[in-house]
Amino acid sequence: MDFPWLTVIGAVPLAGSALIAALPKALAPRARHLALGVSLITFVLTLVMAAQFELTRAGEIQFSEIHSWIGEFGVSYALGVNGIGLVMVALSTVLVPLCVLAAWNEIEPDRARLFFGLVLVLEAMMIGVFAARDLFLFYVFFEAMLIPVYFLIGAFGSSERRRYTAVKFLVYSLVGGLIMLVGVIGLYGSGPGGEQGFLIDNLTGLDFSSSTAERLMFVAFFIAFAIKAPMWPVHTWLPDATDEAPAGVSVLLVGVLDKVGTFGMLTLCLPLFPEASKWAAPVILALALVSVLYGALLAIGQTDLNRLIAYTSISHFGFIVLGIFAMTSTGQTGSTLYMVNHGFSTAALFLVAGMLIKRRGSADIDDYGGLQRSTPVLAAGFLLAGLSSLALPGMSSFVSEFMVLTGTFVKYPAVAVLATLGIVLAALYILLTYQRMFTGPIKEYAAGWKDASAREVWVIAPLVVVILFLGVYPKPVLDVINPAIATTMQQVGVTDPEPTVAEGENK
């Protein structure tokens, strides 16, 4: 039997969190070291696993593990990833060490065990949700993931509103999750049943008795994912959550956890309900388009740095959904790459913002100004992260955004034209913010400020390197994604449009 890579990669952070919980009070300040070590081990293990991933079979599920769990109900413990799952697992394990490092001095020592323990639990859940190959197991991770986030926001939020925000987050997610549960059970009912009745592979390609049933189940799944992603109009929990959450938690929340929404749309909604997906595509494209423009316009109007980043993400999630439901291989590959890139660029934005907020004691953009002279390194970090967010060519996000737009254009030119307006809005929300915070005369408040410390540079530099590298050479990631998307396209039963002008003799 093969080595159970995914179980191990998920179990390491879980064990790490147990270890942290067991630390005696005297050793509480060591929790962060432990968390960093554990998350780095997890990352290295992921790299080792990724190295064994067979590119030629990237469209198929690899590292499969199947064990019967609750046989009577058809539930199995089944893990495995194709190219899409692999990049998402990798994204999660890359970001966690950086978030731990970012929170290094932010958490009081006596509460460090709780914080870092929860972060590691969250990591385990994220790996589980991206690797689950049993629908019920997916659902379990999908819901269980909420628990650590709920406590991270509720206990470590920045203001008195943190409890309200944590509950709001929980309510939104639970409502979505429960609606999905209806779909999950409904789908099981339509499937072959038996001991492995919840296996996603056994539920793919079903012949639904009525298209209404398929559509209803699709909608149940989609609502849950749309709340998670979040799309307009169910997005309002996100700005509140990032408003409260510590920077590192925001990174995991927006950078990884929300991707479960778009990941679910791409790897569950589409293959499980191909007809319904095609049926709903026009409406979803419209919602995605609204998200793109609405999120960007709202971002321009924000006065709070964290809320601003949250709204930019709503706009970006709009792009991701757009690419998925444009139903072209270019769009879907772009969307998958977008999920990865957005993870990095948003992480960079949140983390630099966190460093500034920590110094200034305020997230209000108008409390800043003139910082380019006093803290040039932080200013450069923010600008680079911002340029990545506005998808400047040369940065990784450009490749994905452009592929999404191109993939949409070939089928829905009007939608793509409107979505392209987003590139101007993105420039506005980034550059206006940069101008307000970093330009202008040096101000008094920043007199004693130190520029980025070595630790802070180590948090940001890896992200910047990845963003630039994948902008120039996205091939390693694309090679993993392409075959998986080809499989998805097949499952949905859609093909790419041919070029409209027949090419003359080749050259």
Partner: protein, 641 residues
């Protein structure tokens, strides 16, 4: 008459296959200077200078390599690596070394390197000189990528790279809020143009399944006129943004906030001409789309007039030069829209303009250097006596832009005027006359600028001004550029060398006679130019210039306000946009959240629920949720039954 397209040879030999060094060297310079930190402050600028000259040296090697081959053998594709492979979209990064790209490479690296040298002295007392040179290197690298890319998407990367460099350099002194605003404005307006550029690339992919020059140009021959017109118009939108053409011209004047060497290099000689490059490079697309060509010509004609009018009213020496740049690029656009013959003259004018305008900007910088950084020409006057070298180099630039024979502008601009008069029906008369009258207005405003600064009845210097000549590091580049202003046109024009050089790229087109005989046109141009100079002489040399600007006519006042470009943009886009975002923020906080909050209320009221959670009654909360699920499940089952 179609251009010979899509025939690119695989690169051979060390010089060609390593053409990527052109881009890599300045990029490396920028990286070292940015990452090296303060410890490089002492000598970092020299590294920047070195990298720029190294790029020029490699460019020269490439030029001689191409020169040694026959015309049809001068287009080489340098394959670099597999860049993007996403679904059906597949694109390799590669460079195209051909006569057109090499012409740009030589201009960018030569003028760029001279300006690097000039900047060593100009920025000597700036604490951030190292960062300045990093950005200059970044600009050179991006600009070279722009002109060397072999696909539209890679060109777009360079396109945005120069935009970024421009943003960073306009805002180089962004502790001044107005300068920070100018930088942002330039980027945003360019992004509006980028919409066109991005959509053009998407449309190309949809039509041809590829975005490389080779495939697009090959496909263009088979494509219908409508498709090509759409692509051509979208590309034009992109070109308008980058080249400050109407209606996306508003950023260029404000961009003068950047240090003067930046204005010379980026906002006069090279980056702003990228739009012209784009149109000329895309000639096979435009050849099949006459309507798009007409649009290019119209935009060019409008902008050349617009810039010329604005240039007459500006008292700020840099803004007057900026208006002139806009106007001169209008000439190039107009020519580029006239097809292959016009395109060759567009590039010709682009090269001569690169020399004389960069020279004059450096001259303006030298004047500012001597006049406590003042840019107000009403505080200058009779500087010819104290700044002899600056004056002499500026004189040559002035003669060149006027089109006085035998200086450079005469060869390039007169050709454009002639070509504008070619054609049938109303077009040659409208476009020809616009170009002709533009020449007269150009003569007026450039003479006004020249006389107000260097000549006139009186010195209007501020009390603390002690004008002096600039150091040799500044004057030597000015002298070299002035020599180019004087002789480049002669060298390339008499022999028709440039047209021959570009013919493999643009294709051959038979010479057509203009609607008026050439000697008549040439005579008319010279007479009009002389009248323009004479008028300026009477107003600004022969009479004293008031220190404060007189109220002026309605047109003067409008021109001072750039013909209300900012007012229009504010009224049409900025204010409504601000209103829209404010409304949406309000609605999002109340409305959308409120509506979805109803969902929470459905479960029992968030506030009350919150307290109960805190008091530990989570179970009742979960129970009510479960009840909800049961109802939903029941609903689903009911439907399925």
């Amino acid at each position: 008459m179609t251009a010979e397209t899509g025939v690119y040879h695989a690169a051979e030999g060390a010089v060609l296959s390593n053409a990527w060094l052109l881009i890599a060297l300045p990029a490396l310079g920028a990286a070292i200077l940015l990452l090296g930190g303060r410890r490089l402050d002492k000598w970092g600028h020299w590294l920047g200078v070195l990298m720029s000259w190294a790029a020029f040296a490699w460019g020269a090697l490439l030029f001689f390599d191409l020169l040694g081959r026959s015309g049809e053998e001068r287009a080489f594709q340098v394959h670099l690596f597999e860049w993007i492979n996403a679904g059906t979209f597949s694109l390799d990064a590669g460079l195209l070394v051909d006569p057109l790209s090499i012409a740009f490479v030589l201009l960018v690296t030569f003028v760029g390197s001279l300006i690097h040298v000039y900047s060593v002295a100009y920025m000597e007392h700036d604490p951030d000189r190292r960062r300045f040179f990093a950005y200059l290197n970044l600009f050179v690298a991006s600009m070279l990528l722009l002109v060397l890319a072999d696909s539209y998407l890679l060109l777009f990367v360079g396109w945005e790279g120069v935009g970024l460099a421009s943003y960073l350099l306009i805002g180089f002194w962004n502790h001044n809020p107005a300068y920070a605003t100018a930088a942002k404005k330039a980027f945003i307006v360019n992004r509006v143009g980028d919409i066109g550029m991005a959509l053009a690339i998407m449309a190309m992919f949809t039509a041809f399944g590829s975005v490389t020059f080779a495939d697009v140009f090959a496909g263009a021959e088979a494509a219908g006129e409508t498709k090509l017109t759409v692509i051509g118009l979208l590309l034009l939108v992109g070109a308008c943004g980058k080249s400050a053409q109407f209606p996306l011209q508003s950023w260029l004047g404000d961009a003068m906030a950047g240090p003067t060497p930046v204005s010379a290099l980026i906002h006069a000689a090279t980056m702003v001409t990228a739009g012209v490059y784009l149109v000329v490079r895309s000639m096979p697309v435009y050849v099949g789309a006459p309507d798009a060509q007409l649009a290019v010509v119209i935009i060019g004609a409008i902008t050349l007039t617009y810039g010329a009018i604005v240039g007459c009213a500006k008292d700020d020496i840099k803004k007057a030069l900026a208006a002139s740049t806009m106007s001169q690029i209008g000439y190039m656009m107009l020519a580029a829209g006239l097809g292959p013959v016009g395109a060759a003259f567009a590039i010709f004018h682009l090269l001569t303009h690169g020399f004389f305008k960069a020279g004059m900007f450096l001259g303006a910088g030298s004047v500012m250097h001597g006049m406590n950084d003042s840019v107000n020409m009403r505080t200058f006057g009779r500087l010819s006596g104290v700044m002899k070298v600056t004056w002499a180099t500026f004189l040559l630039g002035w003669l060149a832009i006027l089109g006085v024979p035998p200086f450079s502008g005469f060869w390039s601009k007169d050709k454009i005027i002639e070509t504008a008069f070619v054609g049938d029906g109303w077009r040659p008369w409208v476009f020809g006359l616009a170009a002709l009258l533009g020449a007269a207005v150009t003569a007026f405003y450039m003479s006004r600028l020249f006389f107000m600064t260097f000549h006139g009845k009186d010195k209007r210097w501020a009390d603390d001004a002690h004008p002096h000549e600039s150091p040799a590091l500044m004057t030597i580049p000015m002298v070299i550029l002035a020599l180019g202003s004087a002789f480049l046109g002669l060298a390339l024009g008499v022999t028709n060398a440039l047209a021959h050089w570009l013919e493999p790229v643009l294709g051959h087109e038979e010479h057509h006679e203009p609607v008026l005989p050439i000697p008549v046109l040439m005579g008319a141009t010279l007479v009009l130019v002389a009248l323009g100079v004479l008028l300026a002489w009477r107003m600004y040399w022969n009479e004293s210039v008031p220190q404060t600007a007189p109220r002026g006519s309605l047109l003067t006042r409008a021109a001072r306000r750039d013909l209300f470009q900012d007012d229009v943009n504010e009224g049409l886009f900025m204010r409504p946009g601000q209103y829209l975002t404010r409304t949406l923020v309000f609605v999002d906080n109340r409305g959308v959240d409120g509506a979805v909050g109803g969902l929470a209320a459905l479960i029992g009221g968030l506030g009350g629920r919150l307290r109960r959670v805190q008091t530990g009654l989570v179970r009742s909360y979960a129970a009510s949720m479960l009840a909800g699920v049961v109802i939903l499940l029941g609903g689903v089952l009911a439907v399925r039954l």
